[in-house]
Assembly symmetry: C2
Homo-oligomer: 609 residues x 2
Amino acid sequence: MMPERDLQFLTELAAQLRVDSVRAADAAGSGHPTSSMSAADLMAVLFACHLRYDFDHPGNPANDHLIFSKGHASPLLYSLFKAAGVIDDEELLSFRKHGSRLEGHPTPRLPWVDVATGSLGQGLPIGVGVAMAGRLERLPYRVWVLCGDSELAEGSIWEAAEHAGCEGLANLTAIVDVNRLGQRGPTRHGWDTGAYARRFGAFGWHTIEIDGHDPGQIDYALGDACNTRRRPTVILAKTRKGEGAVEVENREGAHGKALKNPGKAVDELGGRRDLRVEGHRPEEAPEPYRFASKPLELPAYEVGEKVATRTAYGQALAALGAARGDVLALDGEVADSTRTEAFGKEFPERFFEMYIAEQQLVAAAIGLQVRGLRPYAATFAAFLTRAHDFIRMAGVSGASIRLVGSHAGVEIGEDGPSQMGLEDLAMMRTVYGSTVLYPCDANQAAALTAEMADVEGVSYLRTTRGNTPVIYGPGERFPVGGSRVLRHSPGDRATIVAAGVTVHEALAAADELKAEGVPVGVIDLYSIKPVDSAVLVEAATTTGNLITVEDHRLEGGLGDAVMDAVSELGPRVVKLAVTELPGSATPEEQLSDARIDRQAIRQAVKRLL
Amino acid sequence: MMPERDLQFLTELAAQLRVDSVRAADAAGSGHPTSSMSAADLMAVLFACHLRYDFDHPGNPANDHLIFSKGHASPLLYSLFKAAGVIDDEELLSFRKHGSRLEGHPTPRLPWVDVATGSLGQGLPIGVGVAMAGRLERLPYRVWVLCGDSELAEGSIWEAAEHAGCEGLANLTAIVDVNRLGQRGPTRHGWDTGAYARRFGAFGWHTIEIDGHDPGQIDYALGDACNTRRRPTVILAKTRKGEGAVEVENREGAHGKALKNPGKAVDELGGRRDLRVEGHRPEEAPEPYRFASKPLELPAYEVGEKVATRTAYGQALAALGAARGDVLALDGEVADSTRTEAFGKEFPERFFEMYIAEQQLVAAAIGLQVRGLRPYAATFAAFLTRAHDFIRMAGVSGASIRLVGSHAGVEIGEDGPSQMGLEDLAMMRTVYGSTVLYPCDANQAAALTAEMADVEGVSYLRTTRGNTPVIYGPGERFPVGGSRVLRHSPGDRATIVAAGVTVHEALAAADELKAEGVPVGVIDLYSIKPVDSAVLVEAATTTGNLITVEDHRLEGGLGDAVMDAVSELGPRVVKLAVTELPGSATPEEQLSDARIDRQAIRQAVKRLL
């Protein structure tokens, strides 16, 4: 049992966290004090008694990781940082103000925050990824994730529960603040912590139900989590939203607002305090385990061979795995199709089967990169839409993850529209800080796969199902942000801009047009974002007529990227893209039906001229 | 117990379904025969003994609904349709061919298919929506969903499990074909049907574990599902992939391919048969329950008032609910923020709280519209990205659903980037057949809310958090595909195109510019898709200079929609949009930081000229 003195300190510390949460929200005029107050005891005990964290060295590999999956409880997190002595009261009161690091929801602008949260249901699956990294690197840290009860309705939570449960991630603990009240009213299960325990238990977790305002019970549960082997632990803590302030305590309609009478609440909570909680510096940790590496030898394909870019990606990734121990691969149970299996066979320790759970697939990648690892996560391009919100938030986090989408476009043929990635370029281009690459041949695909390893932020490689002719020699370089001018003559009357499968259609069309006395240029725009503005501007200025052609919907893809680069010059641009709903057909029929094949390009050029 | 004769018929029918699945895939040279063969007994017994369906009248309100959540088992579905006599053998063998209705994965081009499937984990949550419709309309039909075991890894399955379990949707039965093998190898739980039973049981479902190749057990389980009250039922059927053909039976590496030796498999299965299964026509059903209706009286706002468009949406939806009994509202536990609560208070029977589960939110809407109901599903615009894959597939289904995204753009202010819808226009524009609307004032928002009720396909309304001035009179019409020219003079030197919150910035900038002797036009492009090409072409032709300004990322939004409409004319276009990562700040600071406020517009015009 904990000594009386310690219990009193913990109670005082929790009261301080509540007071500071109320004060921060009051200074901002908004925020989520009540969602902070319910979890104050949980976090006070965690910080004071169990968290091993060296605030002077946030990058210390031995540090525990704490993720606020309920990111709206940011006032509590910032109050903890104040108690830890790493921000002062003045900064606390800058909460939500212009230029402050203390944003409405936490982001890694703060060095002690691993990932941005605020879109609910993301912290736990990302925590799974951080726990996977700990196991891979053989580090002794623990991952603590503070969840809300409302967010347990998100399917992504159960993808995380399944993965962590089946993998036995004992270094992961979810602490659920069951405060009974969501944003607009009571949650589905209210204070029925048993309902949650049955669910997590069925997924193989160790479950503990406690009173979340009792420091002794909290301490026991956190210790129990640390001592549990082979299973992740979930602590289901019954709490009261707004605990400690009569104005808001356990009341509906008090979500996401500063208190009306903060002074009274602070008084009820015993006034301001200035307690410090040192936390526990972690013991000296072993060096993170590193896998062997050797010089990179990318696969080489002969010009004229026909090889699918997805195959080249797979082989290049395997080569990259041999060259770099920090490269990992994650699969959404389609590694035979995406060709990630080439990596999996050679490096089973660094290959993670995430099954058909694309949110967890991407979240695991985000978690793994927290430790500086370089994950590649691949599935069908179409199914990456499943993880759109995670990808969006990865952009906010500045997370460096590599996504690979195979089976792009109508080119896949018979499988039909459900399997066609036709929206992926648009989705990936909108992500903050993203890089979007779309190779047309195997050597280019291999080079870009390797290049992605060092790209910061969210990067995306789009691959094609069918075999395409190799047009570039092995070893050629394709820098991010570049392009290749494949046909060019001083007399060009128009320029065709293509990428991926349409490059080959564009080349065929250009050759036919040339034979008909209509010379046109062809640009391979393999880097869709950033885009090679200089080359596009040059083409727009010289020919004044651009034809873009892409195996993607008309909206938000390559055509728009081109127009964006040249819009202020005012060239005439014709965009060829997929506008109708495809059915089943051969790849050739699909390209023809979608009017993005050589014939359609030729006609478009002639119509434009 | 079932008579021997019937058992024999069922066994023969199942063999026929397997034979036809093998033959269809053989004719196509691709497809998923093995995933069809594992479920053949399950579907034979369902069709012969339990499904109530009038194939002559697919729209009969009393019809049961059958959804193949494992859409890749399409050969089985089409073989069932052949056995039911609604397609002939010739059509069966057109599987996956150009122009055939029998696509690689089922779509509603077939009148007996409610929704397109093929993206796994979608059929069950959509089935939840169809079951909700049955309860709402007081119809006696049952909803049968055939799931694969691999897809149970999808979080969306557990969102569905939670909703159906808590709501006690006894008219819903999931039949899980536990064939142990996913695409690339064994599933996580193999044949451990108990693992799935524990999970579904924890979510409140009635669970039955059976041998999925034993017609007697199947019949018993299906009957038990029909007789179960107050709980949905899941039948966990242990099966063997490729059952009945030695070449593929229970073998890895046999997923998604035609058999190498189909003739041998057909022989092993006893050769071709031509059995018919009539199915049971449903008994005369009561008329679907209809809610009262009365003439529409939209809310009216006075010009000059300041009202948030989200508020106008909520009030208009409530008015629409009174006018039309078929209008429903679904909420992602943010109805107070989206303002859907106005509807919920007046029409609780037609208001569905889906909690924080955006995939199920959208899936329920898709399921409800199967019965011709008109659902509006609302959450923060940012969080609709969570349901991107469902929205994409709704486009493939031709589903008529109405989505509403509030808290668009940086305008939300202090909450920060996690809560800002900055990618939603791009996402919604890429959806096949979608309509994208973005009102700038309350009367326009109300009018568009009402107009959406009759829009076919996926439609989207984007609303703003803060109050904006009312600039249009009550009762004005805003047809889909239209725009409003707000400033125009013969001497205009440029035209500003805006929507939503930036309309007001554009008007202010135009007024300032006019005072400085630079007349510019202003267009309110409230219909982002379809876009008013005629008006944009007119502006591009007359002024030759366009400035687009939007509270959205640079990629895929309003600016791209405008460029698309005028690209072949070659005007000069400057796009103002959000390019950096916002933090927390006031709405005014955010608009200024993002360079999309009146000041930035003025400078852009001057720079362009």
